[in-house]
């Protein structure tokens, strides 16, 4: 066990009792060693089980209503695909890796959330690799999720090549992450198909 020299750190001024007390704290710091850094997986508290209380606290039910309205609105395209042309001015405040599932397990993506803009929207930037381009008018859709279940649409995109970066903007209050939602999923949409299988998840 090694560490910095006690006298180098604090000098020798003080009563013997005070110095001994500091010295013991010094030894405990050395003995404890550094705490581990939290990985992105542990950066937020786990989703609390819903059995003890409702998913949405009473004081947030108004907000939940607004979010529900936002779901309807987003279904009509408020989640805006704006392409990758405005690459400047994006300040990342949250990032989550995503991975493919099932037959697309090798697909990878990085989803970054930018600072909320003055209108209340959050910009998203997603770099995707390994998703195939869809034929017959199909597209991919990014959705917020809670406990793995898709909730709010964040917009749609397509991939013309193996790697693509898309920018989206959502009106939801992502400061509630991971309270109201704790991740994202990508689903595959195809015309005339009600099923939308999850192809990627955080």
């Amino acid at each position: 066990m090694s560490g910095p020299d006690f006298v180098d750190l604090v000098g020798d001024e003080g009563t013997p009792e005070e110095l001994e007390r500091l010295r013991r704290a010094h030894r405990m710091l050395i003995e404890a060693g550094p705490p581990p850094e939290l990985s992105p997986r542990l950066s937020d508290a786990p989703a609390a089980p819903s059995s003890r209380s409702s998913l949405v606290p009473r004081r947030r039910r108004g907000a939940a209503f607004l979010l529900a309205a936002a779901v309807v609105a987003s279904a009509f395209g408020i989640g805006l695909l704006v392409g990758d042309r405005n690459s400047s001015g994006f300040t990342q405040v949250l990032a989550r890796p995503m991975h493919g599932v099932g037959q697309l397990a090798s697909a990878r993506a990085t989803l970054a959330v930018g600072e909320q803009d003055s209108a209340g929207n959050y910009p998203l930037k997603m770099t995707v690799r390994g998703l195939p381009s869809l034929e017959h008018g199909g597209w991919y859709e990014l959705l917020l999720s809670k406990d793995g279940r898709p909730t709010l649409s964040c917009g749609s995109f397509d991939v013309a090549t193996q790697g693509v970066t898309v920018r989206l903007s959502v009106p939801y209050d992502l400061s509630k992450f991971p309270d109201l939602y704790d991740g994202w999923v990508v689903v595959k949409r195809e015309p005339k198909q009600r099923q939308a299988p999850v192809v990627m998840t955080t």
Binding site: L22, G33, P35, D44, R52, S53
Partner: protein, 184 residues
Amino acid sequence: MPRVSAIQPTDEELLARVADGDRDAFGDLYQRYARAVLGLAIRRLGDRGRAEDAVQEAFTSVWRAARTYRRERGPAAPWLYAVARNAIADRGRARTEPPAEPTDSHSDEPGPPEQAEQSWVSYRVHRAMEDLPENERTVLELAYWSGLSQSEISDFLGIPLGTVKTRTRSGLHRLAEALEEELG
């Protein structure tokens, strides 16, 4: 920005709110204890991946068991430690491979009582560090865990050497106060 200041709720107050289903309080409690619990889990399980699983299970247990906490029986930290330790032990029992901790009686490694003592000390030190003012915690982390000399810390942070020494001493004082129980 200090993570915890005088106006912040105590661990006991947060735990009481968690018992009432307050998810914000749960998140705050998690931020205070996550690294300490992860350190404990890694020490016990010897595997980062399983330790991360154990941390999530530990805090899920905290959420479920918060109502059983009684403030009059003692501070929150030992209670949380016990809940986390049980969750980590459950995760350890669930494994199928040989245990990571040494069991060879001829080993120079500390035995279970010593390991338990070390785990408790580390847990308390890591938790206590979370409560230090940011400027003091940073100086202590750089000095103890990054191996920087006082002069190097001064250069690194761009502050006078005297300020480094003042913050180091002040931080150790606060830490000693927080760890009074362990110091005896």
